[in-house]
């Protein structure tokens, strides 16, 4: 309850609906509010009467943004509604944010007015928030099936602590049915499409190849990318994670970061200004932001401007200074303009004519500390792109402090 447990000092409480939301039929709003009151009257001695003029105990209205009290609404999402504890004047009143989409259904595309009203009227009667998951007075909106909706025992205990049980012997049972499991939660984000995984032809589960040792001199990589200041090295299903924040190399798997992505990337690169990393496999690519896979992927690599003859790419690297991304395929490479989101004219060009001394095909590419690193087998080539000069050749795993 609220501090000092304010309650209505009478059993007959009046309410008035001051205005309506354009999202719903007025009759549906009337019904949702009436059902919400009935939920509380069925477990208490309280009786609610609707009035159509003058001052009622509980005044119900829809409003957006600033609406005359100290607690302005915040646009779509966030705060959906609020209500005041029992008392004179604004006491007991319930306000609903008109910037929300109100509905009589339980869907992802709007908020169920009955559910929210039942919660807010709990406040109008003197209940504060419950931290019992599944209780009506839990602060967070939980879309549940509202057909034969029953109060959680926690709600009943709370309201009866304020007003006692109903008087009529044939009132609804005070024992609540088990709280309804939410029929549908609001997904934090659209479910990412599960990618078809190649089913192994024979039933025997294939044992994933062992992770090569960090300092194996023959270690090669499928793809390498930066990600928010860290560097990720990919091979098969394995990830080596090098972070400026920790001295140790962390050993992970692709599925531990992005469960629905496939193993064995061909290429990967980060566009740091967009906090976005793109992964390539065969003729498709995905985009992620941190752990989140952007919806609408995978997409065909032809969307980026590759001719249909290109069925996969070997490596990719983004040059933060020029906003260009270089894609390497066989003995050629393309330059992609991230600002215009299109391939540059005059490409593909031969790798040998612009990157002397680099052996192709290139397995992976990385930009770090102003230099480019091109990986071919167990070697990598450090290149100063401005001067198009090969600086030195190293083992591919020189990043692992071997």
């Amino acid at each position: 309850t609220f501090p000092y447990s304010p309650t209505w000092k009478k059993e007959d409480v009046t309410y008035r609906i001051l205005n309506y939301t354009p999202d719903m039929l007025q009759a549906d709003v009337d019904e949702a509010i009436a059902r919400a009151f009935q939920l509380w009257s069925s477990v208490t001695p309280l009786r609610f009467t609707r009035v159509y003029g003058g001052q009622a105990d509980i005044m119900i209205s829809f409003a957006a943004g600033f609406h005359g009290d100290f607690y302005s609404f915040d646009g779509p999402g966030g705060t959906l509604a609020h209500a005041y504890a029992p008392g004179s004047g604004i006491g007991g009143d319930a306000h609903f944010d008109e910037d929300e989409n109100w509905t009589k259904f339980t869907t992802n595309s709007g908020y169920n007015l009955f559910l929210v009203a039942a919660h807010e009227l709990g406040h109008s009667l003197g209940l504060s928030h419950s931290n019992v998951f599944g209780a009506l007075m839990y602060p967070i909106y939980m879309p549940v099936d509202t057909r034969n909706y029953q109060l959680h025992q926690d709600d009943i205990d709370g309201i009866q602590a304020l007003y006692g049980p109903p008087k009529e012997p044939d009132a609804l049972p005070t024992k609540a049915f088990p709280p309804q499991e939410p029929t549908e939660m609001i997904p934090a984000e659209a479910p990412t499409p599960t990618l078809p995984r190649e089913e192994p032809t024979e039933i025997t589960p294939s044992k994933p190849p062992q992770r090569p040792d960090d300092c194996d001199p023959h270690l090669t990589f499928d793809a390498i990318t930066t990600l928010r200041g860290e560097t990720l090295f990919f091979k098969g299903s394995y990830v080596w994670r090098k972070s400026p924040y920790f001295s140790e190399i962390e050993h992970d798997t692709i599925s531990s970061f992005w469960p629905s992505l496939i193993d064995g990337f061909d290429a990967a690169y980060e566009v740091d200004k967009r906090d976005r990393v793109l992964f390539f496999k065969d003729d498709q690519y995905w985009a992620v932001s941190g752990y989140r896979i952007e919806s609408g992927f995978p997409r065909p690599i032809q969307n980026l401007g590759f001719p249909s003859s290109v069925r996969r790419i070997d490596a990719a690297v983004h040059d933060q200074s020029t906003k260009r991304t270089y894609f390497f395929v066989g003995n050629k490479y393309w330059s992609y303009n991230e600002n215009t989101q299109s391939m540059e004219r005059g490409y593909p060009r031969k790798i040998a004519s612009d990157f002397q001394g680099i052996v192709h095909p290139i397995d992976a590419a990385l930009q770090k500390n102003g230099y480019f690193y091109f990986f071919h087998g167990s070697n990598q080539y450090e290149v100063d792109m401005k001067r198009k000069k090969l600086i030195r050749t190293m083992k591919s795993n020189s990043w692992f402090n071997c």
Binding site: F2, P3, D69, F70, Y71, F73, G77, G78, T79, L80, A81, H82, A83, Y84, A85, D97, E100, Y111, V116, H119, E120, H123, S128, H129, N131, F133, P139, I140, Y141, I186, A188, L227, R228, G229, E230, S243, Y245, F257, D275, S289, G290, Y291
Partner: protein, 82 residues
């Protein structure tokens, strides 16, 4: 993963607003003692994590942020409107 810098800023703003709205957090606008401010904010984060049964780290981790982003009632969790 590390949090993207500008995202971190936005998340911090969201969290401050949330804690002010629902957990009686008051940021000293011109406080000279940033460290004190941060520790008071950490206390409020712990209070919110305790209410929702989250691990009480006092840090603005992803689970805590996700909870703060859920659509909800405007009434505070620790006191009524005055």
């Amino acid at each position: 993963f590390p949090v993207a810098p500008e995202k971190e800023q936005k998340d911090m703003q969201l969290a401050k607003k949330y804690l002010e709205n629902f957990y009686d957090f008051k940021e000293e606008k011109h406080s000279l003692f940033k460290a004190k401010d941060l520790s008071r904010m950490a206390d409020k984060i712990r209070e919110m994590q305790s209410f929702f049964g989250l691990e009480m780290t006092g840090e603005l981790n992803q689970k805590t942020l996700d909870m703060m982003k859920q659509p909800r009632c405007g009434i505070p969790d620790v006191r009524s409107y005055s």
